[in-house]
Every structure is written in C-alpha cells, then in structure tokens.
C-alpha cells in the first residue's frame, strides 16, 4: 500500500479548504446581494429625480419661460446628477463639455420612440447611469447622467472587507482544524507508542483507561486486553516448554546413568556394537544439554522475577566466570585484557546467569571458532563492554543478525563432523543479557575471527 501524506496534515488541509470554500461562497453571496441592493436603490432614486426634473422642464416650457439654459443650471445645482435637455432640436446643458455626443445612441433611439429608459455604461473610465425621459407635450427630451464612481468605491471597500474576512476565516479554520486534529489524534499516538513498547519487549506497558471520551476509553480497554492476552499466551507457551523439559529430564537422567554403566562393559562389545554405543552416548549427552538449555530458556521467558540481580564488581565477575567456565568445561585458558577506567566499575546482574553467558560464548568459540583468543573488558560511554574474540573464520554477514535466534545454526554447525551444539546457547546469551538491561552483538574481530560484544549499563554511582 503506497504511503499517503500524514492523516493529521490531510485533516488540517481539509479543514482549511472547507473554511476557505464556505467563507468565499458566503462572501460572494453577500457581495452580489449588497451590490444588487445598492445599484437598484441608486437607479430608482435617479429615476424619480429625472421624472421631477422632466416635469419641471414641461412646466417651464408650458409657462413660456425662454431661459432653458438657466433652468438646466438650476436643476444641476439641486442634484448630484447632470442634466441635458433637447427642446425642438436645440440642446441645453449646464456643462460646456457635455454634448449630445456623450449620450448612448440606443438610449436616444428609445427617446425617439417616446420610451423612458435607463442604461449604465462606462464613460471615461467610470460607470455612468444615463436616463432619458421624453416630454412629448413640450416637444422636449430630458436626459440625466449620474456618475456612479462613488458607488464603485463603496463596492470596492466592501469587496476588500469581505476578502479579508474570508482569508481570516480560512486561517482560523486551518489552525482550528490542526488543533482539533492534534487533540483527536493524541490517543492514537499514545496507542502507537504503547504498541511499539510492547513490541520492544516491555510487556507491562498499558494505556490509561481513565479517558473521558467513550471511544478513546474503548480503544484503551481493547489494547490493554490484547496485551494481557498476549502476555498470558507467552506465559503459557513458556510454561509448556518448561514442563515438557522438566518431564523429559528424569527419563533422560536414567538413560545417561545407564549409558555410564554400559560404558564399563564397552570393551566387551563387538566393533559394531562399540560404534553404536559411542553414537548413543554422544547423542544422550547432547540431549541432556538440550533439555537443560530448554529449561533455562523457559525460566528466562518466565521473566525478570526469576532473576536474582545484584550489584557486583565487573572485572572480578568476568575473571571468576571465565575461570569457572574453563574448569567445568575443560576449555583452554584465555587471556583477559582489562583496559583502564574499570577499577571500580559495577554492574547489576544475576551471577549464575552471567556465568552461563560467558560459558556459552567460550563454548561457542571452542566449537565453531577455533577457540577464544582473548577476552577484552573496556568502557564505552555509560556502558561496560566484554568482547570475546575467536580464531575462527568469522561469521557470514548474512547470518550475523540471526545467530541469536533460537535453534539457529550457521553453515559450520551444520557440518556433521563438527561438534554439534543445541542451537540455544547464543539465544540464551541474548535473553540473559537483555534481562540485565544490556545487549549483545556480533562483530568482526580485527584479528579476523568473530567478536561477540556484550554491553551492560554501569551502575550510576560509578560513573
């Protein structure tokens, strides 16, 4: 599935666009409505004025008043509009510049048909309302011109105000949408973070279920139930593996004892019988180690509650564990190199399990790496580090991240000629070190072999 832009961004944009669309729509409707009212109002006012002026012209002509120029001037003085009168083919206007050429031809034709008409046209860059009122009784036509420039300015101001309002509404919509989205998405982020922690091994992670919103509370409850079921399932699996291993141990001990008894009579067997006995003895031994490892790993899965963590001196611990592992498993002596700055270093570990970690690493080096060449202790930031180097061919980079998987065996281990392990040794190392709060990784040793590196957090007071 191709990844889309973040939901939060998309929701914020949707809020912004919705606000923009609605505000522009309402602004446009308001503008068109107000413009219609203003223009209509102005037209009816001008028309009423034109009727009054035309009536005055008719009265003046009827009374035989000859000074039409003076009458037109007085009409202009009384109103904001400009008047133009045609009387028996002669034209009268108060403004010298105003002539019949200014008038729209269509309007003059309407006047010729004895029709009152109005028309808005742009003249010299400004809208002008032209009105004609024919006065047939006086053989005259009254024309009125009203400059609508002021109306244009009013409408421009209105448009600017509405545009500013729409812009403001859009910004408020986007910001408000972003805020609402952030609030709405917060529980989702909490759930995602909690899921990440659970996936990282923190199985005690839960989401607070005290949310006020019903949907969020339901999400928290479902999530917590899911994690609890997961934990229960893991416990059950671990218990099952432990139980099976435990049940296998007793008959296996009997088998091993029987093999030891039979070993005393080995020389009396035929050569074929001796070979079969040797195979049996080796596999019973391997089986015993496997069951012990399975038990150990089941205990490890049962959690940190089974751990007896205590602060111990780091350098002394490593020395003791190495000596003990060598003595118990008849391994060759390995030099332990201690770098400066570790005199007072202490770590919090389970002694028995740390010894198991060192034993497994040394045993692994002996089986597949031609034996350990050196153990180096050093400090890296807040951690103390144990490096176990071997003389082997190193590990195939493709296997490097899988060697700590349970029952994983590399290409060397698959060779029947090599001493076979259980495939659980390094998995146990990784489990135990994780319980100590550290981690283990496989690197390439500068001498050419493999290097297993354990990093453990040093105790606070020693930093």
């Amino acid at each position: 599935v191709p990844r889309r832009r973040s939901l939060r961004l998309r929701l914020t944009l949707a809020f912004g666009f919705s606000a923009a669309f609605l505000s522009v729509l309402f602004a446009a409707l308001a503008y068109v409505g107000v413009r219609h009212i203003l223009v209509t109002d102005r037209q009816s006012t001008d028309l009423r004025q034109a009727y009054v002026n035309a009536a005055l012209v008719r009265s003046a002509v009827g009374a035989g008043t000859p000074a039409m120029g003076q009458l037109v001037a007085s009409l202009d003085a009384a109103t904001s509009a400009t008047s133009l009168v045609e009387l028996r083919g002669a034209w009268y206007a108060a403004h010298v510049s105003l002539t019949r050429a200014e008038l729209p031809a269509a309007l003059m034709r309407a006047a010729g048909r004895d029709e009152v008409a109005r028309q808005v046209l742009v003249s010299a860059g400004t809208p002008v309302l032209f009105i004609d009122v024919p006065v047939p009784a006086a053989h005259a036509v009254y024309y009125q011109l009203d400059d609508l420039g002021d109306l244009n300015r009013t409408l421009r101001t209105l448009l600017l105000l509405l545009a500013a309002g729409a812009l403001f509404t859009t910004v408020v919509g986007a910001v408000g949408g972003g805020w609402i989205t952030r609030r709405a998405m917060a529980p989702l982020e909490v759930a995602s973070l909690a899921a990440e922690r659970v996936a990282g091994g923190a199985l005690d992670t839960r989401i607070p279920e005290d949310a006020r919103d019903r949907e969020v509370a339901a999400l928290a409850t479902s999530f917590n139930t899911m994690v609890e079921q997961l934990v229960e399932r893991l416990r059950r699996d671990a218990r099952f593996a432990g139980d099976v291993s435990h049940e296998l141990r007793s008959p296996l001990t009997t088998l091993a004892t029987s093999v030891e008894v039979m070993r005393q009579s080995r020389e009396q067997l035929s050569p074929e019988g001796r070979a079969a006995f040797d195979l049996l003895a080796t596999d019973v031994g391997t089986f015993q180690v496997l069951v012990e490892d399975l038990l150990e790993i089941a205990r490890s899965d049962a959690g940190a509650s089974m751990m007896h963590l205590e602060p111990v001196d780091f350098v002394e611990l490593v020395h003791q564990c190495v000596r003990s592992a060598q003595r118990r498993h008849q391994l060759a002596a390995v030099p332990v190199v201690v770098e400066a700055g570790l005199d007072a270093a202490r770590v919090r570990v389970d002694r028995r399990r740390f010894e198991r970690v060192m034993t497994n690493l040394l045993d692994n080096a002996a089986r597949y790496g031609g034996g350990a060449t050196a153990i180096r202790l050093s400090r890296a930031g807040d951690d103390v580090v144990v490096d176990v180097d071997d003389a082997g061919p190193g590990v195939d980079p493709r296997d490097a991240h899988r060697v700590f998987d349970r029952f994983f065996r590399g290409t060397v281990a698959h060779d029947r000629g090599a001493a076979r392990g259980t495939g659980l040794g390094l998995a146990l190392v990784a489990d135990h070190v994780a319980h100590f709060g550290g981690h283990v990784e496989l690197l390439a040793s500068p001498e050419g072999g493999a290097r297993f590196r354990i990093s453990l957090p040093a105790l606070e007071e020693d930093r």
């Binding site: 035309a54 029709e115 742009v122 047939p136």
Partner: protein, 48 residues
C-alpha cells in the same frame, strides 16, 4: 484532492472576475414601464 483544488481555484477565479466590474453595465437600455411614469409625462396632447 487535486481535482477538488482545481475546482476551488476555478470558483475563486470566477468570483474574482465577477467582482472586477463593481457596478454592472448594460449592453442595451432598460425601458421603464409606461404606466409607472408619473406626472403624465408621456402624454401627447391631441393635434401634436
């Protein structure tokens, strides 16, 4: 999303165009109904 954006842009442009002419102009004169003209202005005396 892109189509919605384009539609919004077109709408905004149309509104901007409509707003350019603050006072609408007329292509043809509007003739006012003769009955609404007051003062009997359009009356043509007999014989004229």
């Amino acid at each position: 999303m892109r189509r919605r954006l384009i539609a919004l842009g077109v709408l905004a442009a149309a509104m901007a165009l409509a707003g350019c002419t603050y006072v609408p102009t007329d292509a043809q004169p509007h003739v006012v109904n003769g009955h609404s003209v007051p003062f009997n202005l359009l009356h043509r005396p007999a014989g004229h």
